[in-house]
Subunit: 454 residues, 2 copies
């Protein structure tokens, strides 16, 4: 009998997160103030984040304890299973062994609650009554709604208007968990009203929604803001994925040669890979691959530069691979990968050649998703499907070379709320997008007056 799921008992769940800052050969460079362009200190961030999270953001401690109240909620779905995709291996005819960490088991259906629960907890500890955030397709918004609900914190989600109207089911999910969801641009903030005055029919953007959520938090005493990716502490909360995977590999006496994750802001990729990068940094021969869409090729084509974290220029300036803050990604269905920048930690590791990057087109990504669904059953989210495409490429390469590789990828979320994308695929309405060279010129224009990172 071949084992399909490698499970961990709850008592074996890791009790600490892994902070890669302790091991990076070159640290993440300073975050700068959006106006002064000088390095920011904890106090600059205090209006937006609770102090414990700010301290985690700048910590160099390798291990940070996971409070028991967070663990208790993690246990509703964690440890998540490590799955052996034997049927997928067979259909590819590869000698490679393919494993995936299945993060779709969380109530919100993705890895996002790993940090949402932690963030809600630290806010609660500091007496925060209300948290604001933005959401595009809704995966992050629903994770934060779930988390706030557990800690009895009010949650206000600014949801990009086009998604609010087109994806009512993620919205309903957030409401079920008690969040209040408003279409952005809204008339509830200055930023929103300004946009609406210019264009009453604006369908919104993630950049606008961020501005609304940040303004709301900054102008209400009892309110903080929460971000679902990019920041160091967010990535760190996700490392429970890779830490569990290591224990699971130990159980079956295996270890990955290749670790793969899709990247938008970088959090699920960091979650699965950072604990393995520890081994790579300490001499182990592992390849770590970040997979992005050709429509938003931040690592593969964007320069490493200081740029705004948001589109409007209100958020801090961070050193990262970026397509420029004015970049509007084409409307691919992997909404979670449509971000102009990349987590500074992921960007630095890429710069230091500790990780590789690959970019794939939308159609080949959906081909991969359907092949996977038809062999393993589970329907991947379009974001996850990018990782699967890379797995196919690497598994076929192993076949060609006749070598038995062990591949691990992060199955960041299921596609139950993305079926309209599958619909579009089957009815041949999906197209590929390649970024014209002019977009790279525009990106360089965006960053030309910024300080230069090392």
């Amino acid at each position: 009998m071949e084992q399909t799921k490698i499970l961990l008992e709850e008592s074996d769940m890791p009790k600490q997160w892994y902070n890669i800052a302790a091991d990076m050969p070159n640290p993440v460079q300073a975050t700068l103030h959006p106006v002064t362009k000088q390095p920011v200190g904890p106090d600059d961030l205090a209006p937006l984040f609770p102090m414990q999270l700010i301290l985690q953001e700048v910590s160099r401690d390798r291990w940070i304890d996971i409070p028991e109240d967070i663990q208790a909620i993690y246990r509703l779905w964690r440890p998540s299973p490590l799955m052996r995709a034997s049927r997928f291996e067979k259909v590819l005819g590869t000698p490679a062994k393919i494993y995936f960490k299945y993060e779709g088991v969380s109530p919100a259906g993705s890895h996002k609650p790993n940090t949402a629960v932690a963030q809600a907890y630290y806010n609660k500890m500091e007496g925060v009554k209300r948290i604001t955030t933005e959401t595009g397709a809704g995966q992050w918004g629903s994770a934060l709604s779930l988390a706030c609900n557990f800690f009895n914190i009010e949650c206000k989600v600014y949801m990009v208007k086009v998604s609010y109207n087109q994806k009512p089911y993620r919205r309903s999910m957030m409401q079920t968990w008690g969040a209040s969801v408003v279409a952005s641009p809204s008339d509830q903030t200055q930023a929103g009203r300004k946009i609406l005055a210019q264009n009453p029919d604006s369908s919104g953007s993630l950049g606008i929604a961020i501005s609304e959520a940040v303004e709301d938090a900054a102008t209400h005493d009892d309110t903080k803001y929460s971000l679902g990716s990019v920041l160091n502490h967010v990535l760190m909360h996700q490392t429970i994925i890779g830490l569990e995977a290591k224990k699971q590999f130990e159980k079956v006496g295996d270890f990955p040669d290749i670790v793969i994750g899709c990247v938008g802001g970088g959090s699920n990729f960091a979650g699965v890979s950072f604990p393995f990068l520890y081994d790579k940094i300490h001499g182990k021969d592992i390849r770590v691959i970040a997979v992005e869409p050709t429509a938003c090729p931040t690592l593969t084509r964007g320069p490493f530069a200081y740029d705004f974290g948001d589109s409007i220029g209100l958020a801090p300036i961070v050193p990262m691979h970026t397509l420029g803050h004015s970049f509007v990604p084409p409307p691919i269905h992997a909404g979670g990968l449509r971000y102009h920048g990349m987590a500074p930690a992921v960007s630095q590791l890429f710069k230091d050649k500790l990780i590789e990057a690959q970019a794939y087109h939308q159609l080949e990504v959906f081909d991969a998703a359907v092949l996977f669904s038809r062999t393993e059953g589970i329907l991947p989210a379009p974001e996850t499907a990018h990782a699967i495409k890379s797995v196919i490429v690497e598994a076929l390469k192993a076949k060609e070379e006749g070598v038995e590789k062990t591949i691990l990828f992060n199955f960041s979320g299921h596609g139950h709320f993305d079926m309209s994308a599958y619909d579009a695929y089957f009815s041949k309405k999906l197209t590929d997008y390649s970024l014209p060279e002019s977009e790279i010129q525009r990106a360089l224009e965006d960053i030309k007056d910024m300080p230069k990172p090392k």
Copy 2:
């Protein structure tokens, strides 16, 4: 640390299904031919079902081996977790311990693949190339699509037209797994064409879809028909749920005093409860509760009688609790519970007072679903929410009586494809339905010329 999930290793997954026919004090009474009204034999069923399933249908063997090829697919998601709902207990303030078996972990999101995979396997073994079925909201159709895909069998799903148009995502799911889905009534069968000739705008019904699927199978040599509930062998395939649960309770040294499941055709209820009914029949003091909607109160208000399994009178006549084959259930959102009849085995056990039945209104059921989501995180399907409502009632009764009961319920499926129902609930568009007494008179009229069961 309180344990949340009680897991089983794959090697501990039961290797046999439990056939309650071996232990029922009174057996299920004979199935009759829809035209001759005489008992049917295996040969009468052979055009529709493979012989192995027909033999299972009439078997009295207590244990039936699960072939390794079926187990291998079960292992993609089974054993499913047994979860302790501690947070839910706390919010109810009950001394009762509440456990649930989480069947939403299957790729199709419900318990349905437990039988779909078995049925596809036995069809494959007998050389069947193509399987037809009907589906309403799509839960059964997607489970069978998934199963046929694994065994490389063509799958044709007749989907009630109103759902086909209103629930495109379940349809996309079936297509992703390679099934062909057609809106019923269709122009592809005589039955469909007949209905369309009378009413080109017919929005369809489960009864019509069954007729189309049955006709398609009966008129194609390489094609069989598959049903997702009601029949003995279908219920038996689901007993893996309860058998796993028993092993999981053993692991934590507990055993349920009350076992609860929602009932439409009866399969998920049978799956969780039959293995525990074995203990009850052999003297153990357990209550077993079947929960139905007040809008379709088959057990609580329908007579026990011989009636057609379908709405049109083409399907075999079975002895069961029924609201009459002409009954059209009100449009409640728990589509899987909108069936005029009840599995003969469940009906006989109810007649023999081995199980109880409760009926609840739609609004209190959604209240229960939201309370559950906000404490345990997972969003239940509207069908599952009926079981949850009963759990609340029983847990509060235990609180009142001050006794510590152990309650087990079957979490038959998640609600990711039912968010429009939650939407309707939050926007106050849901209503309750009570069956007027005239409907019971109509039911009695439906069955008045039928033979009488003992």
